[in-house]
Symmetry: D2
Subunit: 334 residues, 4 copies
Amino acid sequence: MEIIEFRPTFDQLVYTFGGSRPAMRIKPGTILKLWSEDAFNNTIKSINDLASEKVDLHHVNPQTGPFFIEGAEPGDTLAIHIVDLKPARTYGVSSTIPFFGGLTSTDRTATLQDPLPDTTWVYDVDTAKNTVGFQSRFGDFSVDLPIECMLGTIGLAPSGGEVRSSLVPERFGGNMDSPEVRPGSTIYLGVNVEGALFSIGDGHYRQGEGEACGTAVEGAMNSIIIVDLTKGGAPTWPRIENDDFYMAVGSSRPMEDSWRIGQLELVRWFQELYKLHQMDSYQLLSQITKAPIANVVDANFSVVIKAAKNLVPEVQAYSGIHASFRDKAKELRL
Amino acid sequence: MEIIEFRPTFDQLVYTFGGSRPAMRIKPGTILKLWSEDAFNNTIKSINDLASEKVDLHHVNPQTGPFFIEGAEPGDTLAIHIVDLKPARTYGVSSTIPFFGGLTSTDRTATLQDPLPDTTWVYDVDTAKNTVGFQSRFGDFSVDLPIECMLGTIGLAPSGGEVRSSLVPERFGGNMDSPEVRPGSTIYLGVNVEGALFSIGDGHYRQGEGEACGTAVEGAMNSIIIVDLTKGGAPTWPRIENDDFYMAVGSSRPMEDSWRIGQLELVRWFQELYKLHQMDSYQLLSQITKAPIANVVDANFSVVIKAAKNLVPEVQAYSGIHASFRDKAKELRL
Amino acid sequence: MEIIEFRPTFDQLVYTFGGSRPAMRIKPGTILKLWSEDAFNNTIKSINDLASEKVDLHHVNPQTGPFFIEGAEPGDTLAIHIVDLKPARTYGVSSTIPFFGGLTSTDRTATLQDPLPDTTWVYDVDTAKNTVGFQSRFGDFSVDLPIECMLGTIGLAPSGGEVRSSLVPERFGGNMDSPEVRPGSTIYLGVNVEGALFSIGDGHYRQGEGEACGTAVEGAMNSIIIVDLTKGGAPTWPRIENDDFYMAVGSSRPMEDSWRIGQLELVRWFQELYKLHQMDSYQLLSQITKAPIANVVDANFSVVIKAAKNLVPEVQAYSGIHASFRDKAKELRL
Amino acid sequence: MEIIEFRPTFDQLVYTFGGSRPAMRIKPGTILKLWSEDAFNNTIKSINDLASEKVDLHHVNPQTGPFFIEGAEPGDTLAIHIVDLKPARTYGVSSTIPFFGGLTSTDRTATLQDPLPDTTWVYDVDTAKNTVGFQSRFGDFSVDLPIECMLGTIGLAPSGGEVRSSLVPERFGGNMDSPEVRPGSTIYLGVNVEGALFSIGDGHYRQGEGEACGTAVEGAMNSIIIVDLTKGGAPTWPRIENDDFYMAVGSSRPMEDSWRIGQLELVRWFQELYKLHQMDSYQLLSQITKAPIANVVDANFSVVIKAAKNLVPEVQAYSGIHASFRDKAKELRL
């Protein structure tokens, strides 16, 4: 197994899925040790740094990559296992960007109202306790919250020659902002272009489901990731597997469509895994799926549909690649 | 504590929130031992009973109640604790009603396509193993699933003189179809009319989040419930508390509005509980809330927003009524 | 033809569809000369009257009626022809009610933002010029706009024992807030309960499509209406016919569902009128329908789908009842 | 005034907004005489040509262009006047592409139902009568409909380095599928990249509002267009002006957001045109706007908001460029 370390310079950061020249070419099975910049390009460092002054929405969610995966062709499946994620800074930040977020009007859900106050919170990272510290901005309340690292963005180049902002979650993955994209998870994405052009970014030290205010505890991240390739079998929408769940992610608007997409993708996956008729797969999953919302703030809203492995007979998805990743991962933690 | 048992006759069943004469008057603090009919009025008993032939959508989700709570006035809070739920039949059923459900067009999301096949699944209840048995209808797959009883409907009379079908989830609770309405939960509902007019029904032996196919494992239910009253303090939307979480439920369309409602209600609740500025409550909850979907199939779609108690300092909601319920409940299990 | 005049007292006003005792019983074919109060119950009379102080959202859109139509049974079609509408006051008013309207967050599209300023505009009625005068509140701009009277609400009792606020547009008609409900239009509504229980209200001296700010130029109205009954043939959703168009109205959320409902209802109507296969009706209407939005501010959003009669061969809908109404109407104008 | 004619070869067709090298550079004020291929790339020529066999959704809506406008910089306004549109073939076609359209489930509004039958209609162009002929496919009904040519797509390169499929309507214009994009209209689009990169395509011989079945009467088109540049003043969303209306177009999902965007854009425009406070602009437009739906079938849904010029005092938008276009256009009709 080849191990490649990559820490992009500021000039090497990209802000789209598709449309950028590969940072490097890698072989399937490569272990990547990556550093990623935070969603704000490190422009927000204190509570006095305001998003409206520092953040350009065309230059957020800087991506580390893209990586050209040798041999990847349209219709193939890229399997990406997240071995480990660790904060790469001693603080994380969160901001309520004007007219961005879940409990505000936006450029789409447009109203004539004034924006919410542009406010920044800084969370100190305590490595020993593995916490980030919330400190109220308009009062005197503080609480330490467990660090639970995840990647807001993980994606490939889109199909049809499109190039999408790294703010977008879609079929190709992207800015799904799901807490399920965390250590121990294997993400399956359908390849759209030669080389797949895989990238990550938007590290979160923790995030609630929905990412209500529009930003998580944002921070630079050190990631260990294994990237492998399965010929053919591209899922229509992102699938995720961990030790406990089979999952699918839908990203669209309105949010019921995100749900429909994810639920249908999991119905199809269960048809494959258990040779079920679609009506039986629909029925079975109706009684066992969890349906956590991932984000309600991005260009598309994302919903995760997940089925617990312990409720159904054991089978192997994608020839057991997840189990194989788990074995390799044991030696690789940060 | 007074204990009242009530098993409605067929003629006593009602199909609306509001609009019905009370089944009886009870004092706050009363323990109710209730039997409720299944969502289909027991018309579906075998795989040969089809929803299109047996089910009248104006007579589903029969309610046990309503109960007139003495002293309840508009603006008060009804606190309902679910002590225990147990299957009252040896089988549960689920059906894909034509043009009803999540992965089909409906009377609202109207298309010209044919409906999905009208199909019924029967789940045998195994009391010893505490399971219901899924058996595929178009193949030879079976699996036993844990019984996890919940109530699909729990609600009060609406405001403004409205009467709503028992298919509707709304501000008054109703057909939220959330797995969080289960033993150990306390539901807080704002009172709209004198006497509150509380009812339950639509027992589910288990249900996935979203209730994808439109119906859960539906079954008659034996419920033990404590109903109490707090003067004033009516929440705008349903709140739920259990030992582990504070929750709020939004029900509307499109589903992002259900999410907004629930998230805002929990922001308001945390402002009260922790004396937080709304921006701090918004920020804190952004990083800690879970956001499971409840249903994407009813007249409104329901989303639950929940915050884990173990992440925040201990406080008492509604003067600690939940803890008090938990004490009483210990003696009352079925 | 019997002519009945009715001007309800304040105490006779009702605020729901369904749930009220009939104001009177009438025979099919009766001509009604009705007075209706404005949407605000005449509480807003000057620019100093603010909606937040004067308006109770449970008591808006007061209805004149309901009328029990003799012989009307579930499944029948009530055909209502609007002969004439005339302002019954010398002024109309419009208000931006806090958290109500199209370019503001609402109780459903909930945000943490402040409401827009609670503002009232008063429009003077000039009978001679047939105009209402717009006068800016924050500057010095004025313009006279043509009076184009319409009824915001026209509806029947709902099905399933429901009672709905007069703020709601639905299958039963109701608060559709469509400019198409104006003199010369025949509205076809499916009867849900014995007697149909027909009512009107919410007169508008004029309104833009969408009713963007939440209220039209609201005013008390004198209406002449003919109410007739066709046995059977109940449309699923409201249909409208005038000399120039066949129309259907969908009311739901999100707004694409309102559109789907209306488009499908017109596809079905054209199948009936022209004996078309549903695919041909779908195709033909795709190329000829107009699709004006009616409201984006009520409990449901309403969309009108309309097909011009002059593009298609002449046929008779509902046995030519509209033409017959038009003949009778000639003698009846206000 | 320079006149440039351009008829792209098959190899010169492009399928995205942004991402393509300019077909040519033109000066502001240039008159373009353009030929554009139909949406299906002329693969559908008879009722036996099925979309599922002939159409690749990554290669539809071929664009003629893009044109690099000299001097155009981000923040500028491109003003495009449509002088004339004429069918360039003797037939137009329409198809119900499986899982594409308004009264079917789609890849987003995903269901488990079978698709509608893949059906093609061919419309003969009668130049003398200026009609296209509808002929039913499942019966014996035919009717001639007036030709009313429009362009389904008209757009610029997106911002932020994005490249979008020519199926997408957005801020940059694109696949709005609005009947308002017809002879006599001036479209104002905000420039995002140097040179603007303007293109057109997707000619429709006629289309109903909503484009219900997913396709209009599609046909190759001869267009005469004047393209001019105004420095600065970029509208946030597309604006349209013709002799009778000021208009704005919103494109998003759900459709109420498209409406909000369009309504807000017109509120802003009226604030500029008439120096109105936003509340007065909101109020005035609430009483006078028309709100026709453009499409409910594309990647975003589009809604047009329009205010009649004859209801308000005469003013000049964009320094009267529309009137100037109208003068030039008189000499240029096809």
